[in-house]
Each structure stands twice: as C-alpha cells, then as structure tokens.
C-alpha cells in the first residue's frame, strides 16, 4: 500500500516537470510530435529505473557516513555524491544506448541525438539527488520512486507533444510563436496539475 501511494504521489503530486522543472530542456526540444516524445519518455523511464536504485545503493553503502558505510563509520564521502552520480548515469546511458542501437534500430534512429543527451537530462540526476534528500528506507522504495517519476515525465511529454501538434494549426502572434507559446502551454498544464497538490495519500 505504501508503495502504491509513493507511486501515485511521484506521478501526480511531485511531478518532475510540473512541480520541480526537471528535464525541461529535452522536454521542450523533443515534444514536437507524439511519436518521438513517446520514445524519449520510455527511454527516460528505463534510464531512471536503472540509475536510481544503483545510485541508492552507492549512496547507502559508500557515500553516507554511518554503520552501513564500507569504509567504516567515520568516513564521510557525501561531498563526492555529484560526481559519482553523474558518472554512473553517463555510464548507464551509454550502455542503454548500445542496447537500443542493437535491438531497436528504428527507435534508435528516431531518437537520434537525444539518447546520449539523456545523460545530461536533469530529470535523471535530479531523481538521484531527490532520492538522496528523501532518505528512502529500502531499495524497493527507490525503484518505485524511479518508476513513478519516470512515468510522470512520460505523461507530461506525451501530453505536451499532443497539444503542440494541434497548436501548429493555431494563429499565434509572431513574437510568441515557437518557444514562447510552448512555455505558456506548459504553465497552463502545470496549473491543471496543481489540482493534485492537495491530494493526501
């Protein structure tokens, strides 16, 4: 039951895009059509689902001082967390990229440049940093959190891509075309998502 509430909470209440602004760059750049958005969303879920538990274990057994630390209770390596997290993420993204290239070539060609860019997607590093801040009790919770926040990101990017496909037929003031109107659209979507904020689960 706890897992379920954490899952729902990380999709809707703590949505990566609407509540924390994580992963906005690729969110804006790749949301021009639903098909690519779909692919990137799935890739983000996959990378989050692998990196977050790995970083959780590293954080628990390597970086945080205390009885779990393998270097003894007095060694505090938490200042290294940024560099270790980003190294793990870069390595895993590389592996995921190679796997996708081998087994799903059509997805690989449609994602193109954006797959390696997942390494510098804030949603992935942000997930790990929030994981560190939230101090999850066990590996299961961190995996559920990864799945939930990835799903929230996926939902947000597919929804925005669908809206932008329709928006291309609209008559928009010249200065607002492209980036401007997209920001305002995302803002309005965020207002809608704010409805979940009072949700106590």
């Amino acid at each position: 039951m706890e897992y379920l509430s954490l899952f729902v909470k990380s999709i809707f209440v703590d949505n990566m895009i609407f509540a924390y602004f994580l992963g906005m760059c690729s969110y804006l750049a790749v949301s021009k059509n639903v098909k690519t958005a779909n692919g990137l969303g799935i890739a983000v879920i996959a990378v989050l689902l692998i990196t977050l538990p790995v970083n959780y274990l590293l954080n628990k057994f390597l970086l945080t001082p205390g009885e779990n630390c393998i270097f003894g209770p007095d060694v505090d390596l938490s200042f290294l967390s940024f560099i270790i997290f980003i190294a793990v993420i870069a390595a895993i993204t590389q592996v995921v990229e190679m796997v996708v290239e081998k087994f799903l070539p059509s997805l690989y060609s449609s994602l193109g440049i954006y797959l390696p860019l997942i390494a510098v997607n804030c949603a992935i590093l942000g997930g790990s940093l929030f994981m560190q801040q939230k101090e999850f009790a066990n590996l299961g919770e961190s995996a559920v959190y990864a799945l939930g926040s990835g799903a929230g990101w996926y939902l947000a990017i597919v929804a925005l891509a669908a809206i932008r496909e329709k928006l291309s037929y609209a008559n928009i003031p010249a200065g607002l075309k492209g980036t401007g109107i997209t920001f305002i659209t995302v803002g309005l979507m965020g207002v809608a998502f704010m409805a979940f904020m009072g949700l106590a689960i």
Binding site: F18, A19, Y20, F21, L22, G23, M24, C25, L28, A29, F79, L80, S81, F82, I83, I86, A87, A90, V120, N121, C122, A123, I124, L125, G126, L129, F130, Q133, P173, A174, G175, L176, K177, G178, T179, G180, I181, T182, F183, I184, V186, G187, L188, M189, G190, V191, F193, M194
Partner: protein, 207 residues
C-alpha cells in the same frame, strides 16, 4: 577589442541562453520564488560557467577528442562541488535554503555549461573563454532575477525579503497573488519575457 565586447554582450542580449537558445531551463525556474534564491543561483552559475570554460580552455590541447565529453563532465562536476561546499559553509550565516542544494547539483546537467565549453572554450584561448563563460552565466542569471522579481513582488509583496507593498494597500483589500509562488507561473512569466524580447528583436521570431 571589438570582438571581446561582442563576446561579452552577445550572450546577454541577442544570444541569451534562456530566451533565445532555450538552454538550461531545468535548474533555473525552481529557484525563482524569491530574489535571494535566484541571486545565489545566478552567482553560482556564473562561477561554474566561467571557471569550467577557463579550465577546459587551458586543457583544450591535451584532451583527446574521443573522451572530451567525460572530461568536460568531470571538470564541471568539480566546479559544482566547489560551489556547493562553499555555499554549505555559509548556509547557516546567510540562511540559504536547503532545497537549493539539489538545484546547485543540477548545474552539472545545465546545458549552458557544457554547451559553451563545447562551442567556445575548446576552440579559443583561456581569457576569452573565461569572459564567454561569465557572460553566458550573466545572461542566464539576468533572466532568473527578472522572473524572481515579478514572482516575489506579486506573490509575497516583498523584494529580498523586505516588504515593498505597503500595509495600507492590504488594509484596503489588496491580496497577494498566491499563484505566483506556485511553479506554473514561472513558465508563464518566462513565456511573456520571451514574447517581449522577440517583439523588440524581430530577427529572433520563429516561422
């Protein structure tokens, strides 16, 4: 000298990283609820972009092309760790928000930093690279501060924590706009800034 001036001024106006290139929005908007957070964030980004451009530019002849991304990532992460430790040391003195730490960490994945190293620092001498990094950080910070100015003024009626909107106005029935403090308004304000910027500078309009 004219070239140097352009290196510094271009990122602030015509090639602004946020409103024109749409880079590095991720870590930026969450800290714009009040001016203080935005100010700290702006200074941190300036420090990181400037220093990492400088270091990468110094190393540009020794970095093998194939592994340059990972080298850049390590340099940037190092600078971010320095900034983060620096802020942690002064956290208590200046009452800097704990939440900011996560977003400071996210400067690593801020596309501006990597983008400027890749586009400028690897092909230029150290000094222009330093200026380019600082100027891009400043262009970025400027937008943060503008957004934070509107959000704090309209959302809480204060600037840097000082009350701006007089009590008499509240007594007369004025109410703070609670929506301004919530995340969506940051995007709508940014959308409006982009609109204003592109209405003035018509070259930037998208087809």
């Amino acid at each position: 000298m004219g070239k140097m001036k352009e290196t510094i001024l271009n990122p602030i106006f015509k090639g602004n990283p946020i409103t024109v290139l749409v880079l590095g929005i991720c870590s930026s908007l969450a800290v714009t609820v009040e001016l203080k957070g935005a100010f700290v964030m702006a200074l941190s980004v300036i420090a990181v972009t400037g220093l990492s451009s400088l270091v990468c530019s110094l190393l540009r002849k020794t970095i093998p092309n194939r592994v340059r991304i990972i080298v850049q990532l390590v340099v940037v992460a190092l600078m971010v760790i320095l900034v983060d430790q620096f802020l942690k040391a002064f956290e208590a003195t200046y009452a800097i928000d704990k939440q900011l730490s996560v977003y400071i960490g996210l400067i690593i994945t801020n596309c501006i930093v990597m983008g400027r190293i890749e586009a400028f620092a690897l092909g230029n001498k150290p000094l222009p690279s330093l200026f380019d990094g600082v100027a891009n950080g400043a262009g970025y910070g400027m937008i943060l501060i503008i957004v934070a100015f509107f959000r704090e003024l309209l959302g809480s009626g204060t600037l840097f924590g000082f009350r701006i909107i007089p009590q008499a106005l509240y007594d007369a029935g004025y109410v703070n706009n609670g929506l301004m403090i919530l995340p969506p308004m940051a995007r709508i304000i940014l959308g409006c800034i982009i609109w204003a910027h592109r209405s003035i500078d018509k070259d930037l309009q998208e087809k």
